[in-house]
């Protein structure tokens, strides 16, 4: 309701906010009916975070969400929900450098994305000195797999899934042996990283990737939470409480 009102007014009159980073709602006065401070703040919170109230607290862990597509070298069209790797990488540097942050919790619900961007994030997380715990909720598909296993300890919700399937080439692809060799080398990089940072074997990973009997229009395998743990890809089944407990235990150990 508020968003519609804002759009209507914005089209009709010019808005010059005092602070350009703060979206200014031209209906503020009319809507709040005199109790401005409280209501205006709440509407901004709803606008930005989709909730009426957000708990105010200090924590020594940093939460990073990897959602939608991992966006890499190409800016994706607006129908995609994306995580921009060029924004996550400096955040990881800040986490590693900040004396106030003791650990990193990475929450994944991703459909995959750019291979090199995903590998860059995974390598960054794997090389961090501070404890990193990952939690896969909903889905941690494709390039989400190396990101999930890059953490020191990985968790997956029992209802979450991880799809392992071959990498795809986009754009113009020449039908020559070199294209296939390049694709295979790229797959080797991903498989090499996953097997080095988890307990799954190279052979098992390749067999999941090339499985022809499971997906209707593709080859590959969908691993549900328990399957991902059984094959050694993910360390444990768990949710937020387990992931946080593990992270706090690592932080205490590091002290």
């Amino acid at each position: 309701m508020f968003k519609d009102a804002k759009r209507r007014n914005y089209n009709n009159k010019e808005i010059i906010p005092s602070d350009p980073t703060e979206p200014q709602d031209p209906n503020e006065g009319e809507r709040t009916g005199g109790n401005e401070a409280d209501n205006v703040d709440r509407s901004k919170v709803v606008d930005e975070l989709g909730a009426t109230d957000v708990p105010d607290m200090n924590s020594d862990i940093h939460v990073l969400t990897i959602i939608g597509q991992v966006e890499g070298h190409l800016v994706m069209p607006p129908q995609n929900k994306t995580t921009k790797y060029e924004h996550v990488i400096p955040q990881l540097v800040a986490v590693e450098e900040s004396p106030e942050i003791k650990g990193l919790l990475v929450i994944l619900n991703t459909v995959g994305g750019d291979v090199e961007a995903g590998l860059a994030l995974a390598e960054m997380m794997a090389s961090m000195r501070k404890p990193v715990v990952s939690l896969v909720l909903g889905g941690g598909h494709s390039i989400g797999v190396p990101i999930a296993v890059s953490a020191r300890r990985s968790f997956i919700a029992s209802t979450a899934t991880m799809t392992i399937h071959p990498i795809r080439m986009t754009g113009q692809v020449l039908g020559v042996q070199q294209s296939f060799d390049y694709l295979e080398r790229m797959q080797d990089r991903v498989i090499g990283f996953v097997t080095a940072h988890s307990n799954i074997s190279d052979r098992q990973m390749r067999s999941y990737m090339m499985n022809t009997g499971e997906l209707a229009r593709d080859i590959g395998t969908v691993l549900a939470g328990e399957d991902a743990v059984k094959c050694g890809l993910i360390d444990e089944i768990g949710g937020l409480a387990e992931a946080l407990a593990s992270l706090h235990a690592m932080i205490d150990e590091a002290k």
């Binding site: 010019e14 921009k84 400096p90």
Partner: protein, 71 residues
């Protein structure tokens, strides 16, 4: 190179139209940023172009944030 469960034609649908994309370099809170013009005339924060990691931790400098500038 994409490794995603979403088909590439769905992911890149409308990619060609992005040539019309209107980008604006702007400084927000002393941080150089790149904004993308949205259909309603407002702007969305596209990229933070800073070398200071602190800028990337600021809540009001996260990608997708809507920004209203004077016309």
């Amino acid at each position: 190179m994409l490794w995603s469960i979403i088909p590439t034609d769905v992911v890149f649908n409308g990619f060609e139209q992005q040539e019309d994309l209107q980008l604006l370099d702007y400084e927000l809170e002393s941080c150089p940023c790149r904004l993308r013009r949205l259909t309603d005339g407002s702007f969305g924060l596209e990229t933070v172009c800073s070398t200071n990691p602190k800028h990337f931790m600021q809540r009001n400098l996260q990608p997708g944030r809507r920004i209203f500038l004077s016309k």
